[in-house]
């Protein structure tokens, strides 16, 4: 009986289960490899430490607070970018769907422009071309590099959020618009009270995915000299005399920090995706 059921079970299901299993295996292997590299390089360098130099664990221990402080900057930059990007992307996504071409055309143009621009180029433009302060009369508002970097990351975030919003709104069945219209709701009321509340569930997983991506790209800010983890890691390495045996432990440390932060987010996203898929 059991065999019969196995024979009739959909090959698709077993295939996807197999894919999931092998994906899990890959994931675990990846994490294990990362840790092995970190531990081995640390241990190896520790045993072969040239006299007169501090051992690797000592170095890591000494600089960990500073490195983590840099990591905090990555988190702040990415969170602020995502906040600004979402605040701008939400209306942009809605404007794309406006029946008025004077509204929808520019919105589509802006979205496509920033969606198809390399993130690093946008970052360069923002950091190098934006002024370091704004003057309103006699008032001087400083505009530091990290704030410019936030704008640099917020622009692609905005365009991607706009596409997430547009896709989610369009996935709501047209019957919802029709029944709202028949009940005298205006377009704006329909969007705000009927369509968007239904979209939040659909938007959450891709939005979290985007946040993860922005967090990991925030290290790009080091290229333009903004203080963050990668910049500090490079400085620490220099401060320790640029010893080659320090390269692997120091950079693995930052890899592990990002992994430990992003991995739970991606797991949670997967969980939400599965949960909402079942419900709909």
């Amino acid at each position: 009986m059991l065999r019969l059921r196995d024979a009739f079970s959909l090959p698709l299901v077993s295939a996807s289960e197999g894919a999931l299993r092998s994906w899990r295996r890959t994931e675990r292997t990846g994490l294990a490899l990362l840790l092995v590299v970190f531990v081995c390089s640390t241990a190896y360098s520790a045993t072969t430490a040239v006299s007169g130099h501090d051992s690797i664990p000592t170095v890591l221990w000494r600089w960990a607070p500073l490195l983590l402080w840099g990591f905090l900057f990555n988190l702040i930059i990415s969170a602020l970018s995502m906040a600004v990007g979402t605040a701008a992307g939400l209306p942009l996504g809605i404007f794309q769907l406006s029946p008025n071409p004077l509204v929808s055309r520019p919105a589509k143009l802006v979205t496509q422009f920033f969606r198809n621009a390399p993130w690093l180029v946008l970052l360069f433009i923002c950091v190098l071309l934006l002024p370091f302060e704004f003057r309103i009369g006699t008032l001087r508002i400083p505009f530091p590099d990290w704030a410019k970097a936030v704008i640099g990351f917020a622009l692609p975030a905005m365009a991607n959020v706009a596409e997430i919003v547009r896709g989610a709104v369009q996935s709501v069945p047209s019957g919802q618009w029709e029944s709202a219209e028949s009940l005298c709701f205006s377009r704006r009321q329909t969007m705000m009270q009927i369509i968007l509340p239904q979209c939040i569930k659909r938007m959450l997983p891709p939005w979290m995915n985007l946040y993860s991506l922005i967090t990991m790209s925030s290290v790009n800010a080091s290229v333009v000299g903004v203080t963050e983890m990668l910049t500090i890691t490079t400085q620490v390495h220099a401060a320790e005399g640029s010893r080659p045996e320090l390269l692997a432990p120091l950079y693995s440390f930052s890899l592990i920090c990002f992994f430990l932060y992003s991995y739970p987010i991606s797991k949670w996203t997967e969980y939400l995706e599965r949960k909402y898929q079942v419900k709909e």
Partner: protein, 258 residues
Amino acid sequence: MTELAPSRPEPSAAPSRAFVSLRDVHKSFGHVQVINGMSLDVARGQTICIIGPSGSGKSTLIRCINALVPMNSGSITVDGIEVNGPKLDKLALRRKVGIVFQQYNLFPHKTALQNIMMAPVTVLKQDKAEVEARAHALMKKVRLSGKEASYPGELSGGQQQRVAIARALAMRPEVMLFDEVTAALDPETKKEVLFTIQELAKDGMTCIVVTHEMGFAREVADHIYFTEGGLIVEHGPPAEFFGHAKDPRTREFLSQVL
């Protein structure tokens, strides 16, 4: 529920007293002519059924009545409001005309009671307590007392459709349009919905019903219209229509469905 029921007129209501009147309505989507000049009259308190094969323009026709679909030419008046006019007040028109769809289209993120209350409270800015009392009465009317806090996903198709009817009634319409409202339901739940519509018709609501339920049409309708190819091929009172259909297309259709 007398507040929802305008008084029933004399059976011999003259066409001049038509509450809803369609004259030579045309509608095409691109090159496809869907409605090819349809005319009909519905007196206040009357119930008419529109039957006919799929794709004969029935659903499009009733969507023209509340301007969900703009017509190409012709005239529709609802209580004197010209739907095809340049200065159409859609809000005024749609307050008079309630519609129920085949796919229910309830708002899935709101409870049954909230679905009913939403439009009167947010669009018409009516007093919330008063609307809530009315919503409870409507839930009772469609025999769903106790399901007020249920979300659409927790209700059966028939129950969802009855909430949709209550939701339309909450706007206090003077005419109700039903677009194949039982087509997606199984035979058991169909009965509940048809019974609700029948009660509404008995109370004196003006009803325009697009349906494939011949038994319902025969029993409830004052007048039946048969459409095919975007035209009204034949119409008449139920006894005459089902007993002595004149047009061969009507006879063929009836021989298939009866």
